[in-house]
């Protein structure tokens, strides 16, 4: 089958890229390994309760946000109805025995931090000034900015920790900002470049929200628009081999089922390390394969879903984190209500990050015959429930477990290597991948290339597509929707 462009993967970056290419007249095929599009965005229903999988809440939907413009350009704005989280505390973070409530709005968040850590006021002002400045000057957050200006101003590898220490911040302040970001992108304060931290956390500070129908709301809007634009979506199609010419130009690909697809360009949105088995050796140089191999990934999640007739009031629009001590490398643990409209009869997600997935991959593959996998899973579930009851003692006896997912469950459904929650680590010590690699016509997109989260992956879809369509051409189109 011949297309102008093929998009591999139907996560948010793939859906975004496909829709942009269609709007620019391409004939587009989307290939998805799972049997339905968007396995990470999509909710599932168990025992009458909707359960969130990958999208729990998001930043980037405040009135001044660039996502408004991008969604209007995509023609999806009318179908998406963000519901703001508690303005006074979208996240409640227990760390070092103290609770910190993070409010929406950059000014409110700044005041809250000043209130928490009066001795670190110099660092806090420098920190929030930097975040505001970054959001203001980033071309894909502020469309009036030129890209070359951005790349000259934002090349510093300085980490969040180095920046805050330089401004004499207290350790507790560094812990809070650092571990909050760790929960949202899987990178600690001593590793995360400051500008990256600002681009991840800034949109949350500006305002956090959920959607009544969770990830389905976004997924349904995309799939309806894609269908009306004439996208061809092929599910249950796992890519086996990518074909390149001797001159390292993309030609086509074959799926595990033996189907062949041809196109002029191809965007790969899966975890980049999966390319290791797809790209032809001898044509792609060992240097690229070694680069893929050398990438380190963020930790994988372990999730338990509970059901309850009524959930505690405070959980309706606030997420509860227990972030532990940084120096002890303790897990991130979070309790969040799943998105299901106004009803208080909701499923809850208990999420841990930093679990290394105790059961081996082989044990998972043979899970029906291997009791070790279930033993391990049950131990992890019990650990999560104990933490949950410690945080919400009123819920003892008021809930039951619906389901649980280990890192291997995530790896199986989302294809991310080892179930890694946020893909490749974007850290100062590791040179990340860009949309352009050493094969012409083959481009990369997704959380491992730009940023995790709704904002990061949608922007990644735009940036990668702009490599095909031309940066200024696409951005001129976008600016008309400002």
């Amino acid at each position: 089958m011949k297309f102008d462009s093929i998009v591999i993967g139907s996560g948010l970056s793939g859906l975004t890229a496909a829709l942009i290419l269609l709007k620019n007249g391409h004939r587009v095929a989307i290939l998805e390994k799972d049997n339905k599009p968007g396995p990470l965005l999509r909710r599932f229903k168990r025992e009458g309760y909707w359960c969130d999988v990958g999208l729990h809440y998001t930043g980037g939907f405040s009135p001044t946000s660039s996502l408004h413009t991008l969604f209007r350009y995509l023609g999806l704005w009318e179908q998406i109805h963000p519901v703001p989280m508690d303005l006074k505390a979208f996240d409640s973070i227990l760390i070092g025995g103290k609770t910190f409530e993070i409010p929406s709005g950059l000014d409110s968040a700044r005041s809250a931090y000043l209130n928490f850590f009066p001795k670190s006021s110099v660092a806090i002002h420098a920190y929030f000034d930097f975040i505001e400045d970054t959001l203001e000057k980033t071309p894909y957050v502020n469309f009036d900015m030129a890209f070359d200006q951005f790349s000259t101003e934002f090349k510093s590898d300085e980490t969040l920790e180095a920046f805050l220490k330089k401004h004499n911040a207290e350790d507790e302040m560094i812990h809070l900002a650092g571990r909050h970001a760790f929960a949202l992108c899987g990178i600690e304060a001593h590793e995360i470049p400051l500008y990256y931290h600002a681009l991840i956390l800034g949109p949350f500070y500006r305002g956090a929200c959920t959607f009544n129908r969770g990830g389905d709301e976004i997924l349904d809007a995309f799939t309806a628009a894609l269908k009306s634009e004439g996208a061809e979506i092929f599910c249950s199609q796992q890519v086996d081999k990518i074909e390149l010419s001797d001159k390292r130009t993309f030609q086509g690909l074959t799926t595990v089922d033996g189907k062949r697809f041809e196109s002029g360009s191809c965007i790969f949105t899966g975890h980049p390390q999966l390319l290791n088995d797809m790209l032809p050796r001898g044509i792609v140089k060992p240097a690229f394969f070694n680069r893929l191999k050398g990438l380190t990934n963020t930790k994988a999640p372990f999730v338990v879903w509970l059901k309850a007739e009524t959930i505690p009031r405070r959980l309706r629009s606030t997420n509860y984190y227990r972030l532990g001590r940084w120096e002890k490398k303790e897990d991130m643990f979070a309790v969040m209500a799943c998105d299901s409209g106004h009803s208080d009869r909701k499923a809850l997600c208990l999420i841990s990050l930093a679990s290394d997935g105790c059961p081996g991959k082989d044990e998972y593959e043979n899970r029906t015959s291997n009791p070790a996998y279930y033993n391990c899973k049950n131990i992890q579930i019990k650990k999560s429930l104990a933490l949950f009851e410690k945080m919400f003692p009123e819920m003892k006896g008021e809930y039951s477990v619906i389901d649980a997912a280990t890192p291997h469950t995530f790896e199986r459904y989302t294809g991310t290597v080892n179930g890694s929650a946020y893909g490749v680590k974007h850290i100062s010590a590791q040179r990340g991948l860009t949309p352009i690699i050493s094969a012409r016509g083959l481009y990369l997109s997704g959380q491992s290339i730009h940023f995790p989260g709704i904002m990061g992956t949608i922007i990644s879809g735009f940036l990668t597509t702009s490599m095909i369509l031309g940066l200024e051409k696409l951005w001129d189109q976008v600016r008309q929707y400002q």
Binding site: K155, S156, D157, R248, K285, P286, A287, F288, N290, R291, G294, A429, R431, T434, I436, I437, S438, A439, R440
Partner: protein, 88 residues
């Protein structure tokens, strides 16, 4: 001094042979990466990463970018590495 220079040349050659599948016989100091050796601009980032790993230093996006861009020949790589090591 002489031995450390030779060491740099050896290591660079190992990178080019092992990571870019180039023929060692063609790696004369004045061979150009693009015209003579057939590498192209798409290889440049992979080359930077491979050199960082081989020499265990970090090539800075701020400081080294212009020098990196100006690299044309194998000798330019040697000069860049030597200067970088002198810097450390």
């Amino acid at each position: 001094m002489e031995s450390s220079h030779n060491n740099v040349e050896e290591k660079v050659k190992i990178v080019l042979v092992d990571e870019f599948e180039l023929d060692e016989a063609e790696l004369s100091p004045d061979a150009t990466l693009y015209d003579d050796l057939g590498l192209d601009s798409l290889d440049s980032v992979d080359l930077v990463v491979a050199l960082e790993k081989a020499f265990n230093f970090k090539i800075s996006r701020e400081k080294d970018e212009e020098t990196i861009r100006a690299i044309r020949t194998i000798n330019d790589i040697y000069d860049f590495i030597n200067a970088k090591q002198a810097d450390i």
